[in-house]
Each structure stands twice: as C-alpha cells, then as structure tokens.
Amino acid sequence: MLPVEVAVLKKADVASFVGMLTKDYKVFGPTKKENQFAFGPIDSAADLSLDYTTTILPPKKYFHQPVETMMSFKSGDVTSEGAKLDGKQLLFGVHPCDVNAILLLDKVYRDKYEDPYYADKRDNTVIVAMNCTEVGQNCFCSSFNTGPGLDEGYDLLLTDLGDKYLVQAGSAAGKDLVAKAGLGSAAAEDLVAKDKVLRAAQNKIGKKVDTENLAEILNANFNHPKWQEVKDSCLACGTCTTVCPTCYCFSVADKVDLTLVSGERPRVWDSCLLKEFAEVALGHNFRKERDARFKQRFYHKLSYFESQFGAPGCVGCGRCVTFCVKNIDIVAIANEIASGAEETKPSVVLSKKAPGECKGNPYKPLKAVIKGIKQQTYDTTTYTMSFVDDKVQQEYKYDPGTFNMITLFGIGEAPISISSCADEKGTFDHTIRAVGNVTKALTQYKVGDVVGVRGPYGIGWPVEEMKGKNVLLIAGGIGLAPLRPVINHIKNRRSEYGKFEILYGAKTPNDMLFTDEFDTLRIIPDTNLLLTTDNPGGVKWEHNVGVVTTLFEKMKSVPENTIMVTCGPDIMMKFVVKGLLAKGWAPEQIYVSLERRMNCGIKKCGKCQIGPLFCCQDGPVFNYGEIQGLPEEIF
C-alpha cells in the first residue's frame, strides 16, 4: 500500500492502532490521575484518557527530564555521559500547545551548544499530536496561534471527527505509520469537517491576551502597582514554572556515593520563583523579593523569550493558572497592565554575539593540571593551569574577560573568570576567592592535581574597540582578576592604545590582588596607577583612603576618546557608573562585567538571565549604553 498524507482512523480501530504502536515504540499518553491528568506509559488504548484538558507536567518531561544524570564520574574521570534513550519512544495525543512548546525548546536546546541529552531524546521520539476540539477554561492558545489546531511539529496529527479521527502525516515516520496501519484515505468532506470542529473549538476559547506590542507595553510597566498585589498573594512555590511547557531552567549539583570519589552529576528542573535561584556566593541575591521573581517568569514568557529566541515564550496552555493554588492568572495580569497603557519601551538588543563553538558534549569538562599556585590574599589564590591534552592547550584561545567553568567532581562546578592574558601560551590563570563549595575545596588542591575545565565562554572586554583610544580601568577587590588580562594585553601592545589609567580599590590593603605586579604597571609608558582602600587598618598606606569613586578627583582621565572598563562589587560599579555619567561620560563609553549565578555557561540552565540577556553568553562584559534600558535592575 502506498503511504498516504491524509487518512482516517475509525474510533473502533484505535485500540488496534495503539496496539500496533506499542510493538515498535515505548508509548506515552495522557492518563487519569485523581481529578487531574498526567502523561504516563501506555500499554493499551484502555490506558488513554484522550478527553483530557491538560496534564500536570507537559510532555517536555520526555525530552528534558525532571531529574537527569548528565555524567557519572570516578576519581575525577568521567565514566559515562548519561544514558542514551533505550529504543524509540512515541508520545500519543499531544495537544497543539505542547507541540509548539517543544518547538520552542528546540530553539533553546539545539543552538550552537547543542544539548546532547535533549537532542538524543528529541531525535528518537515520534509525536502523534491531537488537535483540540474541546477546550479548558484556562486555555488561551489562540492568542499565540499555538492552538487549537496544529500546523507543524508532528509526525501524525489526529482530529476528532465524531466516530473517527482524521489522520495527517507530517513526516516520513508518520507516513510509514499510516501505511503500516493500513488506514483508509480521507475524503474531501473530512477536511471540511476538520476546519469546522477547529473553528468551533476556537470559538469556545474564553481567555484571550492581546499580544500586539505586548512585550513593549510590559517593558514600560515594570513597576506597575499590580505587582504589589501579586507579591502579597504569590506563594513562590515554584508550581507555575514546574508545570510550564516552555520553562527549561535547571540546576546542577553533584551527588557522590559513600566512597566520596565516585558519583553522578545530575541536573534537576529549577524555578526562577525560588528564592535561592538568583543567589550567588556570599549570599547576594539578585531577586530577593517575591515580586521580582514572579516578574522574571512573567516577563520571560511575554517579553524576554521573544528577544532571546524569536518567538513568545508562552503557548497559552493555561497550566500555570490551573495549577496555581492562589489562582494567579498571567492573562488577567497582562490584560490589566495593558489596558489603558500608552507607553511602550523596546526590548534591549545587543550588537555582539559570543564567539565559541562546541565539539561533542558541551557539559563535559576537560582535564587540566594545576601548574602553579600563588596566594594573593588570605582568601584569594591564583591557580596557573594547563590542559592535560597538549593539543587542547595549544588550540585554547580566549578573549580577555571571558570565563571557564571549573569542575571538582563530587563538589560541583563554578564559573570563574580567566585572570591571565591569552598572550601567555601554554597555561592560563584563574584567581579565585574561597567563598563557595568549589572555591573552598580548591584551596586543598596542590600543584600537579587535576581539575575539570570547560570554556572559554562569553563576550570579554572590548580590546579591539579600545584601540587608538585612551583607557580608564576601574577595579574593586577581586574585580581586578578579570581585568588583569586587559592590563597585560595593553602592556604587550602599548603603542596601539592611548593614555592608560588604572584605579584600584579594596576594603583594606590586605585585600589587594597582584600587589607584586603594581611596580611593573607603573613602568608601562604613559600609564597612571591610583590605589585606594576603604580602611588601611594598621598597615602602612601611602595612597588614597576612601571608596574607589573618591579617586575621581585625582584621576587624569577625561571622557574624550576614552573607554572605561570596570569590574568589582555591584555596589561599587553602580556608583562608578553613576559618578562617570555625572562627570559627562556617555553610557556607550562604559563597559561593565556582571556577575550572576551560572550552572552551564552556554545559555541552557537559565540562571544567569538579566532581563532578556544571558550573562554567560551575552556577557559577562556588557556595554552600559546597550543595557541601561533593561527593565530589571542591573546592579
């Protein structure tokens, strides 16, 4: 029999059709769970509840599992890179909203750093979708054109026509299934009937959000009074994100067995609603307040996702409304904010994309050996490292200001900026302050010990744009580490840059890094180094006392033909930027390096987002002029 594009499946034949599918595939479909539904294993058609409205978790769980082992390790060696899908799986009865959500997740997970775990399951899964002829009270797919009818993303598409299903094949695998089942061809009136039931379904949808200019309207209403109401009501329980079909954030934490040297590195779905989500070492939290976290989810769906991936991040499945015990309704909130709103604000778009490419599993660290250890301060140490594989080391190139993910298997992984200049071949440096699990554990490491390293990631300092210009470099405390490559880069190419001025501040003289290099800085031609400490303590101190901005009175730099680069504590950068703007510097002359929590470095874990930007790949170095319009607070 020839494969046919459009066929019919009599309802009386569904049981045998599903029976056929279970022979070749692990089949999953909607099943009843108390008064709710969940996708689960299907042994026969009797297990299916095809009259379901929505499931608790979306079918994304079959591609991006709630808990998934990324790799196993033993004594620092990766012993396996997660389990491949055993055979092929088939999802039966997936609604259009959920199929469209999977197409959005493809954009997230299948970019230049393709997620191998997602890709494996995606490539080995057949989707039998089912158009919606009935709608739930919280469905609003029609607002995003993601339902009730489906246009793409399916292998087979079923539409309920009463006593039969219209079956449309959307792929070779789908056509094969139609042929194998020997389904009869559809008649022209079946297609007419399909249109009719979908129109009827569309008319039943009671919820609607006006998406025209929605992102721009929301951007302009970031401080709307509605958010206080949401803050009072929201439980920040994380349900809305966990049930969302387009949420993809995860966290990574190693689990060791009792040998303490072997174990697994799993990833677990995470939620931006949770308080610890945006917390970094030493306890600073970029979204401490509940409303800030709720807004992160809301804006990510309705504004940021479109800037990031070219489509709205919501498919209107209604789960976040249905499963919220407080009945918080993003549609009602969006409509309330949009009604009567006149002001709009464009989303932030950046001019640069991070370089970098991926060979193989982007999460797998490579072995690097510690070649040298140098104590900088009582809590900060510089580790000089080199990849164990010579070829990797020779090919390893990085821009000043970029970072690596450092792995200590069993302890975890942490993003650490590179503190050496790429001119130094053969090794690279990380200057690390012992404040978190990984950085504290690293203090026990000795020369010759091996760690895991992957990178480099991100966009670094604008050393090309700086050519021919004067440079003002302002660092605070540990913030000098990612700026040291800039200093050495300029030192090695002194004639290519104009006047060079360095302002460095730390809490006390004992907190200053690279003090033994200060003398070599002073002899770089046409270079001015100004030092300050908040509190000299009992140490002999001949320089300025006060926060770094007090050096503004003494510095020689003027805005004309100058670029300023800064890194330090957020509060310092905030006042540095504020102070320079007040002195007539333009936002476009200012570059800042931002810190956020990161679990991947490759735009997957979602932790480091600042509005629509990913700190890991759109930064960590940003042009202040480009990001000053972000709805979220930067510092």
Binding site: E34, A38, T242, L274, E276, R290, F323, I411, K440
Partner: protein
Amino acid sequence: MAKPRIAVFKFSSCAGCQLEIVNLENALLDVLGAIDVAYFVMASRDMEEGPYDIGFVEGAVTSPHEIERIKEVRKNCKILVAMGTCACTGGLPSIKNWTSQREMEARVYTELWAINSTTAYGIDHYVPVDVYLRGCPIDLNELVDLVKAALLGVAPPFRPHAICVECKLKENACVMLQGKPCMGPVTAGGCGALCPSHNKGCEGCRGPNNDTNAASLAKTFAEMGLSKADVVRKFRKYAGNTPQFNEGAEAL
C-alpha cells in the same frame, strides 16, 4: 575530614528520629564505615567522652535541666545538628505553648509539685545550630547527604524551598486542587513530598521554607472552608514558634 566522631543526644522527643537512624540498616553499615559513633545511647553500649565532631540533637528543650544540658552539648560538638522537627522548631511538644503552663501540666500529670517545665523551643532558642535536619521524623536520604557533605567539607544540599517543587517533579495530583488543605506551599522541601505523594495534605512538619507567605495560604485555607481554629492548628502543629508560621496562625 578524617573519620568524624559522632554523638546522638536525646531531649524531649519520641525518639523516632533516632529510630530512623537505626532503620538505616544497609546504608548504616556503609555510613558506619565512614564515621565513628562515639555516643549513641539507643544503638551502642559504649559511651565515649566528648568532644565530638558532629553532635545530633533530637528533641525540644522543655525544662531547666535541658537548658543547661544543651549548652553543655554545644560546647562538646564542633558541628551541632538539630535533628528532627522538635530540635529544629520545638515540634509537637510546642503545641502546649499557647495554653498556660499550669493548665497544660494539670492535663497530663497528677503530682504537679514535681513538674517543672518551660516553654517548648527548638534548641536554637538556647544555642547556635550549624545544620537543621528537618522533618518528623527526619529523612534518611538527607541524613546520609549530611554525613557525606560533612566529610567533603561542603554545605549539605538541602532543599530550602517549598514542598511543591518535589511534589510537581513527581507529578502528584495537587491535593489542594482536590479540596484538601496542604501546608506544602509554605513548608521546606526535602522529604520528597511524602504526604502529598500519598494523596494527603502536607502537615508542615519540616517547618517554614525560605520564602514563606503563610498569611496568603491561611486566607486560601479559609476560602476552602477551614475555620479560624483549624487554620491556627495547621500553623501551630509543628512550627508555631517560628515567626513565619506564627504569621499564618495570626493571619485571620
């Protein structure tokens, strides 16, 4: 850390958490390979003197004698673990705290002259605590995780957020949406959403999560038909001493 010396102390409690440790069975043998149990009345005949590397304290502090004893325990332990709800927040013994001391004592004892009880508190009311091992009883996976974290010298990987996260990861049908009150949205996770996984509402035994909006949940309980007294009991069953759950008890 080299093989750490462990001690287990009992205060006012049912001994259920200690029993959980004994219930570790197979895992216990592995854990025992990694630790040195120096003081554990329930499980061992040999009692060794302190100091100890890790002290596990079970039970609330409810008498002047216990107040003095917990201070001694603190001095003897490098890492002090509040083990179980009673030690963490006062737990079930703390339900007496909202009735007058004498009235409560009279309900239980006849020889009142011999009774000298104090308000029931978690041990951190009197001494600093390093780690909280939550739950009534404690979760064995968390106990093993804690021992491993101590051996590695890292922070234990405990979930600080609401039970709802684990509940949803398991794809349980939400009990609240079935009309049953559940403390999950305000209670710290780590138990694997044990009660909701059996289709029962969470009782809040693990105490408040890291961003508790108890007043909001109390309002929802009232909308579901719970009386004010019921709502108060929900929030005072295990952790009424905490400001977070107290806010829920006083919300209506």
